[in-house]
Symmetry: C2
Subunit: 437 residues, 2 copies
């Protein structure tokens, strides 16, 4: 697993050293090295200096426009006028913490909670998906009385101490501790036609193994579109058997919606609903404020109460008027711009074109839902991360931003702002053909 | 400790149940209960619905202005025009993650790092103080090879799983795990005239006790003005002996500057510098973006490298162009408005007036530095949290916002925006006299 993950990190990353970049970019790279040191990771063999962004495009210092098929945070489009206006209005008026009352927090919370099935009626606002998943683990452990968490093999759920433990893809050396158990991603290539049963059995075995080691089971945490594992979305409903196993074992099911949430699958707001399950805890983040830091956790009131009996929880910046105003504008823009339907429509078109490309390129699978797609590359020698890396840098040279994922780093990860059009999708596939050719 | 902390939480908090608030506030309280459930904590017996804020004042739905002596986040003043303008400009132009290059990150990082002593030359940007302290603990544990952390008895350092362990004040039930050891706050009432030696001895004993239990020492983590412990700032330099003990034992010293940092002490940018020490890691947060979520960690490059060899660390929203633009505007406003000198000047005036009040009220100590002051209340029966609670609600009725801290919840915590004037300070003390009278 270690060497695989190194591959994933290396796939998108600027390798350092001499690079054929213009002097302005070289100067920034040097400033970056001095101030940010080893913590700095840049994208691309030739990193980009960005100046502005709008809709589905970023504009770089080389004078070119870059079509964005990488960034899911600016989900309603870079610098969406509605979100920009909401932030501009609120930041000059009131920006305080949530121990005072202010209206916009409630306007937002109610609109957000209305998108969830009834039992999930309480929300905790945080600043980042990492904070949401960290809190979800605290709740699950408190409520279950257990410690053991099951995650997928190449999962990424965030960056705190505790969330890193459940993010195998963050380990360059070492491995998660015994209280974290890994199962394979729900890959049809592994489990065959009955992914549901295969994945449920893997979860059941992982629970049995941890309990045999004296570790009580607390819950299953998965990204409901398994993005860092390589994007596994189908068939819809396959998660239900695993969730039944979790509940039978006394654990909680935590749905991490940081990646698939807010309409990206084109089939409603949340990835879990495609699977016909109701999670005990749902976490969300990235696209929630279109770039303004806001994230959250939704759960049943009694779970939250059980936790709050033992601990105070307060988050200074979370749910501020500006954060809520930005997030409310995102929900409104999703509706007004009809972006969930657009994700479905453009996703279908893109999938069809990618499947046609599959016959003429070393593509072993085209997967996903809506505007979260994975294109897996392989040859007779097995997974082909070098093709993914070549595409990432080749598409950058042709003015398109994209990334990769998966256990072997051989899956092109497609998750653009939801405002992209079928013409943009054509531009992507045309460019892929040119690079692959 | 449990019952003490319950007192602190209860001191500021809305107790729930019937409250003499206007209908608009009552309606919001009910909406809040429904959406946020047990996670919701409001201030005051009669919570406030805020509409707007400017400078040192918040304006509530009751038509009144409230002078702010509570909030340190809007440190250069609520809705400071310079910060508002920076956010408004940047949010419409570019707001992306830090794996692309953009200029403002470097303009900010360099200006920030210039305020630190030379060995501390790398910065990691995060979104919250909690994320900064969580990462600091990961670094300290990785670099030291130990697990054991020493903190003060009523410390608060944030809200992640791992940071809650080192925040004894967050526990309503239970206590920190064995790898976290507590020492008393550096209170002259406990340690006498030689606080430095007393506190250093307490740290030394805590390290010895954990090592006797087979737990290897990793580091000492303190808020350098000990705010949640009740505000202990003097004499300057008292921390040095404890830091020497930490280094002799092979541990790291983590200075949590979330509370005292960014000029609040009136004696330079950072609380640690008053003590003549150079920390191994410095964490910061709250005032950094004047309300825009940004936080950070500053350390030596070799410590960061050691950590990054084993783990990838990436934080999606951290160090975005908007976050850096807001934070850069804060540094500029601190200079242009001469706020560190103002903190010193107003702090001196306020301290003198509080000390005069001390002769005529049940005040057992007036402590602090600059615009972080603590006023401790006690009677012949001991600590008097009921006086602090009476003042908090009494000052709210007189249009002044304030809070409390300390092991017994009997310390009025004074930490206003740094733009308050001596006239505002007079207004506070006059109102305190009226409430106490």
């Amino acid at each position: 697993m270690k060497s695989q993950e190194l591959q994933i990190l290396a796939l998108n990353a600027f390798p350092g050293g001499p690079s054929a970049v213009p002097p302005d970019v070289a100067a920034l790279i040097e400033r970056r090295r001095r101030s940010f040191g080893a913590g700095s990771v840049l994208f691309y063999d030739e990193p980009l200096r960005m100046l502005r962004a709008e809709g589905a495009h970023l504009y770089a210092s080389d004078g070119r426009a870059y079509l964005d098929f990488y960034n899911n945070v600016p989900t309603v489009g870079h610098c969406h006028p509605k979100v920009v206006e909401a932030v501009r209005r609120q930041v000059g008026e009131l920006n305080i913490h949530s121990r005072y009352l202010f209206d916009v927090a409630h306007d937002y919370a109610e609109k957000l909670l209305a998108t969830f099935p009834a039992p999930l009626s309480n929300v905790v606002l945080t600043c980042t998906g990492s904070e949401s998943n960290d809190l979800a683990l605290r709740l699950a452990r408190k409520v279950s009385g257990g410690e053991g968490i099951v995650v997928t093999q190449t999962a990424y759920h965030g960056n705190t101490s505790t969330v890193t433990e459940v993010s195998p893809s963050s380990y360059k050396n070492g491995a998660p501790p015994p209280r974290v158990r890994m199962v394979p991603a729900p890959d049809p290539a592994l489990f065959g036609n009955d992914v549901a049963q295969g994945f449920a059995d893997a979860v059941k075995d992982a629970i049995a193994a941890m309990e045999a080691d004296g570790i009580r089971f607390a819950g299953l945490l998965v990204d409901t579109i398994f993005s860092s594992d390589g994007v596994y979305a189908n068939p819809p409903g396959f998660l239900k058997a695993a969730v039944d196993v979790v509940h039978a074992a006394g654990g909680l099911f935590i749905a991490d919606e940081v990646q698939p949430g807010f309409g990206r699958t084109g089939e409603g707001m949340w990835g879990f609903s495609r699977h016909g399950v109701v999670p005990d805890i749902v976490t969300m983040g990235k696209p929630m404020g279109n770039g303004y830091p806001i994230a959250g956790l939704v759960t049943r009131p009694e779970l939250l109460s059980a936790f709050c009996n033992d601990f105070g929880y307060f988050n200074t910046f979370a749910g501020s008027p500006v954060a809520c105003a930005a997030a409310l504008a995102v929900l409104e823009a999703l509706e007004e711009d009809d972006l969930i339907a657009n994700a479905a429509r453009v996703g279908r078109h893109l999938t069809a074109r990618l499947k046609r490309l599959q016959g003429r390129a070393p593509i072993t699978a085209v997967r996903g839902a809506g505007l979260y797609l994975g294109v897996e590359f392989g040859t007779q020698d097995g997974p082909a991360p070098q093709i993914a890396r070549g595409l990432i840098n080749g598409l950058r040279q042709r003015g398109i931003l994209i990334g990769a994922a998966g256990r072997f780093g051989n899956v092109l990860k497609i998750r653009p702002p939801l405002c992209v059009t079928t013409a943009h999708a054509d531009e992507l596939v045309d460019a892929m053909e040119a690079v692959l050719g």
